[in-house]
């Protein structure tokens, strides 16, 4: 059990430190690397509590797709050279004190909220739902998503469709005067249309008119 605790604390420490590093790191590319590290340690935490499916999905979706996409965007936009000036600008920006004040207030509010939760004695007993150990995580997730929450699952499909339509509407431009390849035309071309055989007489050459 003590090994479990040690591993847990190591992963949580890495997760928190790398989350902080994402925001304070001066180089944007480094930020993205820390983000990936953060995701990986969180997925390790998931696996430790026995939610192996969530952990793997976390790896595949967040690390494999989202973070790599971020990395591409950061590199392509060439913002790597731009320094993260949030913590360097001396007194010029008025956002930081205000932001800090707001976050401190929210922090104390959260302490009140979590305190109320923590010291409500009967809460932990009442949410102890019986866990069916015969089913794997994937099976039980699947049975919930595709039966109890099927309408939400379908709705998320609609949300993704709207996102796709939106991305196309806002970025797709029909440019005029672009020469396009027409495969059908290319394939259906006959040999006769493209090649003309001419007898070239000696010392005379041929006259080619297009």
């Amino acid at each position: 059990m003590i090994a479990h605790a040690i591993v847990f604390y190591i992963f949580s420490l890495i997760a928190i430190v790398s989350a902080i590093m994402v925001t304070v790191s001066k180089n944007t590319v480094n930020s993205v690397f820390f983000l990936i590290l953060d995701f990986i340690s969180i997925s390790c935490l998931f696996i430790m509590i026995g939610a192996e499916f969530l952990g793997m999905i976390m790896l595949i979706v967040y690390v494999g797709a989202v973070a790599v996409l971020f990395l591409f965007v950061v590199m392509m936009l060439n913002v790597a050279q731009q320094k993260n000036e949030w913590f360097n600008s001396s007194g010029r920006s008025s956002h930081i004190p205000v932001g800090l004040l707001v976050s401190i207030i929210i922090f104390f509010e959260l302490i009140i909220v979590v305190g109320g939760w923590k010291y409500k004695p009967d809460l932990l007993d009442s949410i102890a739902i019986e866990i069916n150990t015969d089913l794997t995580n994937t099976q039980s997730l699947g049975s919930v998503i595709y039966t109890d929450y099927i309408h939400l699952f379908q709705l998320s499909g609609m949300v993704l469709l709207v996102a796709m339509i939106g991305a196309i509407v806002l970025t797709f431009r029909q440019r005029s005067g672009v020469k396009r390849q027409s495969y059908f035309k290319q394939i259906s071309r006959d040999r006769k249309d493209g090649i003309e055989l001419v007898d070239v007489e000696n010392n005379k050459g041929v006259k080619i008119d297009a």
Partner: protein, 471 residues
Amino acid sequence: MENLQLIIPELFISIMIMFLLIFGVFKKNSSQLVYNLTTVSLVAALALIINLEAQIQSSLFNNSYNIDSLARFMKILLILSGIFVMLSSSKYIQISKISKIEYPILILCSILGMMVMISSNDLIVFYMGLELQSLALYVLASFNRDNLLSTESGLKYFVLSALSSGLLLYGCSLIYGFSETTNFNQIMVNTKEIEYGLTFGIVFILVGLAFKISAVPFHMWAPDVYQGSPTSVTVFFALLPKIAALTVFIRFLYIPFYELGDQWQMIIIFLSIASMVFGAVAAIGQKNLKRLIAYSSISHMGYALAGLSTGTTQGVQSSITYITIYLVMNLAFFSCLFMLKRNDEYYENIDDLSGLSKNHPLLSLSLLVVLFSLAGIPPLAGFFAKFYIFVAVINEKMYFLAIVGLLATVIAAFYYLRIIKIIYFDPEKEKFESKHNLGLKFTLVASTFFILAYFIYPSGIVDIISQININ
């Protein structure tokens, strides 16, 4: 699943979205056809909703999706305003060169999201509906992407709306943490005592909802978005999301947290007073009609919230009546706005209305009726709307709210009357075009007639609304 027939309207709209998308992609230059088909499918959806048995009260998907009288009425209202918005703005989108197949499809997606919101009886379902409708609205706001104002409004709406969605989700998670469920009815059962976390959750969710109906102090996006987005989208913004958000307001306050009324009542009263006063005062200095109507709608939402703050069935019914009449008035106003066209250009400043009465007596007359009604002058529909609200508020002995509301009406009357003065007494300008398409004319005539004739038979709508029971 024999009660799957209850969500046939939603299923129909989703199928139409996918069908029209494929149809529009494979048929070249079909944007106008897709637009008309969308209108037709909205009419069909309306028929399907009306066809559902009245007074049916049932819920689907583990009680997370409610089909009751409230949902039915609000959906009919929603689809009807959708149809009229489509009818009135068809010419506008052609002329302003935003006639693409995606435009009506995004409108359908947004309406689908709103229908889900209206029927939601669960925090997750509500959130999914909200995201679906606002995601489509972000794109619609910046649909005229070559226009700087339009892109600005889309981006502004996106950033602020994402922030408010974040707060809302945080509130949902707090409520889930303290009540152990996301279902509205179940939340009511599980929360008998007041806890800090629950109050925080309610506040966060109310912030998110207040953002959606642009109540002060979460209104900052409204004037810019209303002005920047294409007018056809502005009508949509001014009408439909308000219906959905108000329904969620009603459900959220009156089903799970009815017992905790003293926790949220002060918040709603504050939102209401702030919106009424701010909307009235800030509209005075506006020069753009779309900005003006944005502030006017902020003020109107204040009155609708005043009805909700009473905590009585009468108050809720007065709010529903208010939003119904508000929709008709705004529809009439925007139809007038669509008629201010000269040489394929639309005019939207107050100065452009100068001396309108000399060239266009009929248009000015209907604008006069609409503005008087918005100001709440009897015997027009707008007066009755405010009247019901004040009766409900005074019955609960909330005199302060009623007095502030009345004062705000007086302030608001100033800027409505100023427009009328400009129309009737200022020097005339060049003529506007007087040929308009049939849908626009029909919308204007129908809505103006409703406003004018409402006082003859006011109980017609009141009777329908009084049959709506919330619990």
